[in-house]
Amino acid sequence: MVDTDQAELTFPSVWTRPDLLDMEGLSADEIRALLDTAQKLKEMTGGCRNKISLLTGKTCANLFFENSTRTRNSFSLAARRMGADTVEFSSSGSSVTKGETFVDTAKTIEAMGVDWVVTRHAVPGTPHLLSRELACSVINAGDGPHDHPTQGLLDMLTILQHRGSIEGLTVALVGDIAHSRTARANIWGLSKLGAHVIVCGPPTLVSPRWSELGFEVAHSLDEILPRCDVLNLLRIQFERQSARPFPSVHEYAALYAMNRARMKRAKDNILIMAPGPINRGVEITPEVADGPHSVILEQVTNGIAVRMAALWLTAGAKSNLTT
């Protein structure tokens, strides 16, 4: 463990939230504060590999009511790299399957003495509901198609590390915008820091109402591609769709998959991102996913840094509030 003095990490006065519920509710200054903290924590932990002791004695409960690999492990590692203990919960085989509501399950876990509940749930707003019911900090690890703030933040941290600034960049979110919490987190976060955001996909997955909210809506990836500095390729979320929104996966891939041919029409320094899990051959081809423009694995590493920052800032705000 790296012996780190907490004083090395100054607590940003702009951050007063005991919970991290969504990106839409964050101000630009709050986003910058969290990204700045994440960057410092990444450096303090040697690229998120070493441990520090800022959160020793605290406990983080991961309450995942939906399947997850990267987000759950990322939060667990983030907590442990900060010295906190973790409690892992999955809904399968739990009291939820015996009829207990998720709120009562969360209250039970909280009563065991946890400082954070990190929650993922298929229904939008469940973290907001928990934040009203629980005394501990609540962090949203994805609530249905609504929001996934730490994913949005890690995407933004990755862009920042490559470009130095987000302001003025053109970022296209391509794919299943309708069912994507990552899309919403990116839309709010990127626009607040000054990026031009394009949402791109078939009309059945990209509502025209996004343009009423000030965002560019595009249905042709080929048309917008030359203007883009960043492409974030979102997975088609078949599990959230009640009816197939396009004729076939084959047709979707032909229209929207980022492939070698399309890379030739893109800017030379374009960043290719994907929140994962990626469907090779659907939204992205292997040569692009593994190519020199891809920062997909950097996103994963930055996820730990962002989650460390989220834990530290919410804990700090909580202690300020309670004192």
Binding site: V123, P124, T126, D143, G144, P145, H146, R209, W210, L213
Partner: protein
């Protein structure tokens, strides 16, 4: 145990009766539970009458609700006939139409009789029964409309379920003409609205919540009015919530087609941004729409295109409304806030005044349902509601008489409040001074 032959003299109040175009300070004399006279001669007032001072208040015919879920039998945790009756009285209602959404549903003579007997035992509001439109409410086979009529049903509906079967609706509208009872249908194309939680619009887009598109309601209204026109049947559409529905209803009425429509009070004042809280109190049906729809509805109520206002009371037990937005059912308690909500948010829309409020909440629904009430005419049972138009209060669902505590109006300040309710001349509700919550 009923008190025999109550006699009252209600004096000092502003008597409003749309059925007789009365709006003046007047005395109302009730003898043996019936309206004896408005402004009786002094010499005609018996000595034994109970005097009630209504100075500064409105004296109106009791309110009539076109559709209330009472949930008994089968869902007594949500509401019972007795608790729903108490809630109705506290809201100024003297007659309510009970929906068929029980288990078993009200598709038989015995089921109608059960509700009527329970209502007699509750000894409160007058409970009229809406019989099922389809047997077992499964939209496959017409219910025994004639036998339901014989048992005392006053209307037919599968509400809150819509009738998705076009052919069945057409046959039922034709068949029900024999009994001259209205069919009440909630406009909703379920294949378009399935899984929806809130109004489909910018807010649902941002929140990632599945929407209830306005076209699901508009298309249903279009179908329903066309079938009503073809059959010359008695159709009541409601509650409605969209601009499209209002536009269609206005146009078919202009063509002389005899349909009626109603709206819920919460659809006149709260918009879909309330769901930003992700609070299931705001998960109601029809959903809270966007401000443009609300404005259209308000003007349609004011100009009479929408005939009536119904509470939309859909009580659900507290534990059911504590869950997430998908698991939590649509529902709310609204009987006890309806009058105040309408007064607070509708007075001043166009020339909408108290005469219009009493019409939309009493006279018009009584006429649509074909039930007694909605008037202070001489000789009718003295169903009377007294309202303090100036009393401010803050809604607290936990103070409701309904089993359901969930209301989207929690903590909202309303102006005007029902203070007393009389059914057949008997005072069945009086607001206790200690529960008056002056803002």
């Amino acid at each position: 145990m009923q008190n025999a032959s109550p006699s009252l003299l209600i004096s000092g109040g502003r008597v409003i009766d749309p059925s007789q175009s009365i709006d003046r300070i007047a005395r109302v004399l009730v003898i043996d539970g019936q309206i004896e006279a408005i402004d009786p001669a002094d010499g005609s007032i018996p000595d034994h009458v109970t005097h009630i001072d209504a100075t500064g208040q409105i004296v109106a015919p009791g309110l009539v609700d076109l559709g209330v879920e009472l949930r008994e039998p089968g869902f007594e945790e949500d509401e019972t006939i007795a608790s729903g009756s108490d809630a109705a009285l506290a809201g100024g209602f003297t007659s309510i139409l009970a929906c068929s959404s029980t288990s078993p549903c009200i598709d038989s003579h015995g089921a109608v009789e059960f509700v009527r007997q329970k209502a007699v035992q509750a000894d409160g509001v007058r409970v009229h029964v809406i019989g099922c439109l389809s047997k077992n409410r499964d939209a496959a086979q017409m219910a025994e409309l004639g036998l339901l009529h014989e048992a005392g049903a006053v209307a037919y509906s599968d509400a809150p379920r819509p009738m998705p079967n076009d052919a069945l609706l057409k046959r039922a509208l034709e068949y029900a003409r024999m009994f001259n009872l209205p069919i009440i249908n909630r406009p909703n194309v379920m294949t378009l609205s399935e899984g929806g939680i809130m109004h489909e619009g910018q807010v649902s887009l941002v929140l990632g919540l599945k929407g209830l598109p306005t076209e699901a309601e508009d298309l249903a209204v279009a179908r329903d009015v066309r079938i009503a026109e073809a059959t010359n049947g008695r159709l009541h559409i409601g509650p409605v919530s969209t601009m499209g529905a209002v536009d269609l209803i206005r146009r078919v009425k202009d063509r002389g087609i005899q349909i009626t429509a109603s709206v819920c009070p919460h659809n006149l004042c709260l918009d879909d941004t309330e769901l930003r809280s992700f609070d299931a109190r705001f998960k109601v049906h029809p959903p809270l729409r966007s401000p443009r729809h609300i404005e259209t509805l308000r003007h349609a109520v004011a100009d009479g295109v929408i005939d009536a206002i119904q509470s939309g009371h859909m009580p659900r037990a507290r534990e059911k409304k504590m869950d997430d937005l998908v698991e939590s059912p649509f529902g709310l308690a609204s009987l006890e806030t309806t009058l105040s909500t309408v007064a607070t948010f509708m007075l001043g829309v166009g020339s909408f005044g108290w005469m219009d409020i009493i019409d939309r909440l009493s006279t018009a629904p009584a006429r649509i349902a074909g039930v007694a009430g909605g008037t202070l005419s001489i000789g009718v049972p003295a169903d009377i509601t007294i309202i303090d138009p100036n009393q401010k209060w803050v809604v607290d669902g936990h103070q409701f008489k309904s089993h359901c505590v969930s209301t989207p109006l929690d903590n909202v300040e309303l102006t005007s409040r029902v203070t007393q309710t009389f059914v057949g001349g008997r005072r069945r509700f009086a607001l206790r001074p200690d529960v008056m919550q002056l803002a």
